[in-house]
Assembly symmetry: C2
Homo-oligomer: 498 residues x 2
């Protein structure tokens, strides 16, 4: 009855006018339509459906769906850090300042945060850039982390999770048309928020491939190849590095970071360092080096001129507080006029959520030795990080025992991204069903084993190679079950299609 | 030393290469640069500066800066609703479920919210559309509000404040190039988030003027004029209505809403109803009518076909919880494929902040008669709304005693938008200083009286008319002082330039 394509009204049999919809898939913003985001795509939707079916008593080859598709620690059973939640409760309901069961350090942190809020309430808007005292605490944290390299609170912008900061910076950078359109260099594989945002901004995505043979490290020659090719059709202006990597879990060496900075300086690229997994480092001999420290160690020729922005978040690390959407970015050597425009851009959304800002403050100004919550805080943090380290090793070990699966060491972050061999026959069947081979593989794993992981094609991968991403977040006993199920599934799948 | 315009590197005297910045005001995204947002513009920045100068002991013609520039209730001293904050504290720190000093209804609400969170923690991501049970509670609230008109939780999307929802909907609607580029009809005067977002999206802003002579009401003939003119140069696809109005505070009549719906239906426009001030109605004989109720009362010819989205928020009303960035939108008759694209678009940012979602749940599912918190909740809510009503009347009364200021009744919302007469000589001096006359006026008011309000030009106004927006939020005694200062300033200003 209703016309979809031409958008005009039609008269139906009873003489009534049936209005065509104004907004249809054919008349909506095409850049939104073209964006892809696999982390919450059809496989995840099917997983939710299967859970409902299980709850309704339908029989499946499994008793529960194990979701290993997203880095969502608390959903996987990780407990919040007590101190953070005590202080947040006080910030929400300041009457608790008088409650003798709450520790003094949680009270003093909460009191300081409330003093910095309009009307001493988290219900007030903050400054667009974020609460002053929170930005000060973040700057002091960065200085401690970077061995004294100075950090200016004026360079700190609080954001709604890290992705808000990344999207905002990308938006600032995009201009030009046709061959002068802004190009942004991103790693392949990459977290698909990057590509989805670039499509939305109609920016040109410039792919550089991480070196799977060298544990997914960044290769300067590959950066150069990608850049030189891109210069034929766009204006590459920024280089995004994710360290530790997502989905690839590598931790870049200090030397690699220095080489990247030299490359970006020489090629006049704005550096965007996504460092949200900086507390998640497990690999033997691996250490997190911030881009900023390395930049400053390289001397004033670099530290006085190179434009760098680093992103961090309260969603990952040991705290895993994804739901609060807290984050910050630090901009280095950003042009003052651009900084003013950045503040204006943020101001249209008024401010990032104040509970998230409060959490940022707590995470980057945690209990200190001698304070009442210190021992328990260290105990909780250590337990979480040790468990993650154990799970990283277990995941790598078990997967590498499976013929047809090979997995780089999980040096950091909270994922593994194993390479899988898909038999020829399976590829043919996938093609017949109009699916990518790795989507076909992951969908089968979900339907047969109840395991929800994301196909490598959602992150990008070298032509002809196949992977999936799974998190290492489930509790160790459940992770063990999950890994055994993956193993069993892969063997059956290989057998079936051989 | 560093070249700003051509962007290449230069060799300085000592032979070092001074790198030109990649990102400058000339090479940044021009749409971001062109966006304006007066609510946090230069006058507000100057107000903050003056506050610092006062704190440092500098002498000023006033003792304090009174900020009446933004609808930020808690910052103006309004206290949070106890029940909301108790439940939020429990959600933050679930140990409080065992605390006997917290009321049972706050506990049961918090428990229900936590049960709907992954791992029973606000630290988990929610579904991109928002927590299921929260959307159910919102749908039930809408049904109660609209006298039983059905609301489907699948049509509810939780957002990061209302502006996030508005920006997202606008983004979906924009397409085409040149004369087929999407046009969006917005009221003049309007809240500048709309125009800033349209600039960012490179959409065409189609102005329709509110009728100041008829208490800022919407005029169908004016809508028609604006639409017909716009059709020569763009493709107008959506009509935005803000009711109650911001900055204009009018409350639309039921008849007007019906006429607007007929107009939008006839002209095939997507209706966007910004109804965030629906609880803020004070005018004699005024009542809030939701667009959705009126649509359904008009019968299936309209209710089955008209595309409508309504926005609401936890930032305004009696709760004024701006900092939590909670909000929702309800979409009516939206194409299913577009709805799926909307969910995908939201999923790239993962989810709106979970504490804000929790607050949405509490606000739209408040204590009921017989529950322990009910009496106190009603007492607190009534006190706030009565005070706002009193302040709305006081503001209108006092301002209308000033020759050269005339102010429509403050029927709703939390602002007044008086018209001011600016003497010829002041206009000349403003022009000499390169300022709009109303900016000049407001800047003088700030410097001489310490009152921070926003010039009408930040919201748009009919050529040759001048206004300012001030909130009615300060406590009544401070509002009285503020109004007297405005009166005194206006008299002195008029005298000086006459």
């Amino acid at each position: 009855l209703v016309s979809r394509t031409n958008g005009t009204n039609k008269t139906s049999e009873n003489g009534r006018v049936a209005r065509a919809k104004v907004l249809t898939i054919d008349t909506m913003n095409p850049t939104v339509k073209n964006a892809k985001y696999a982390v919450r795509g059809p496989i995840v939707a099917r997983a939710a459906e299967l859970e409902r079916e299980l709850n309704e008593g339908m029989k499946k080859p499994f008793d529960e769906v194990i979701k290993a598709n997203i880095g969502d620690a608390h959903a996987m059973g990780q407990q919040p850090i007590t101190f953070f939640r005590q202080a947040l409760a006080i910030c929400s309901y300041p009457e608790l300042l008088n409650d003798s069961t709450f520790p003094e350090d949680a009270k003093s942190r909460a009191y300081r945060i409330l003093q910095s809020c309009g009307g001493n309430s988290m219900g007030s808007y903050s400054a667009s850039q974020g609460i002053d005292s929170v930005r000060q605490d973040v700057a002091r944290y960065i200085e401690r982390r970077d061995g004294g390299v100075p950090s200016d609170p004026d360079n700190i912008f609080l954001t709604t999770g890290a992705c808000d900061g990344i999207m905002t910076m990308l938006k600032l950078l995009v201009c030009g048309e046709g061959p002068t359109r802004t190009g942004i260099m991103i790693p392949i594989p990459h977290y698909p928020m990057y590509s989805a945002t670039l499509v939305e901004l109609a920016a040109v995505q410039v792919n550089y491939y991480l070196n799977e043979e060298k544990c997914w490290s960044v290769d300067i020659s590959e950066l150069k190849r990608a850049l030189d090719e891109a210069r034929h059709y766009c204006n590459p202006r920024a280089l995004c590095i994710v360290n530790p990597g997502n989905p690839t879990s590598q931790v870049e060496t200090r030397q690699c970071i220095e080489d990247v900075i030299r490359f970006a300086a020489k090629e006049r690229l704005f550096l965007m360092a996504d460092e949200v997994y900086q507390d998640n480092v497990y690999g033997h001999g691996c250490r997190f080096h911030s881009f900023k420290t390395v930049l400053f160690e390289m001397g004033p020729e670099y530290s006085n001129t190179m434009e760098l922005v680093s992103f961090h978040s309260t969603s990952k690390g040991y705290m895993g507080e994804c739901g609060f959407r807290g984050g910050y970015m630090e901009v280095i050597n950003m042009d003052d006029e651009v900084k003013a425009e950045l503040t204006k851009l943020l101001s249209v959304r008024l401010c990032s959520p104040v509970p998230g800002q409060a959490l940022v403050d707590l995470v980057f100004n945690p209990p200190q030795p001698g304070e009442p919550s210190y021992d328990n805080f260290i105990k909780e943090r250590t337990a979480i990080l040790s468990a993650l380290e154990e799970k990283a090793k277990l995941t790598e070990q078990v997967l590498n025992t499976v013929p047809g699966i090979s997995c780089n060491p999980v040096q950091g972050a909270m994922f593994c991204f194993p390479r899988i061999t898909i038999p020829e026959k399976a590829m043919i069947e996938a093609t017949e069903q109009g699916q990518q081979p790795d989507v076909f593989y992951c969908m089968k794993m979900l339907e047969e084993a109840g395991i929800c992981v994301i196909p490598g094609s959602g992150f990008g991968q070298k032509e002809g190679t196949y992977h999936f991403r799974m998190t290492i977040l489930p509790p160790i006993d459940k992770l063990q079950i999950l890994l055994n199920k993956v193993k069993e599934f892969h063997q059956k799948f290989t057998q079936k299609y051989s």
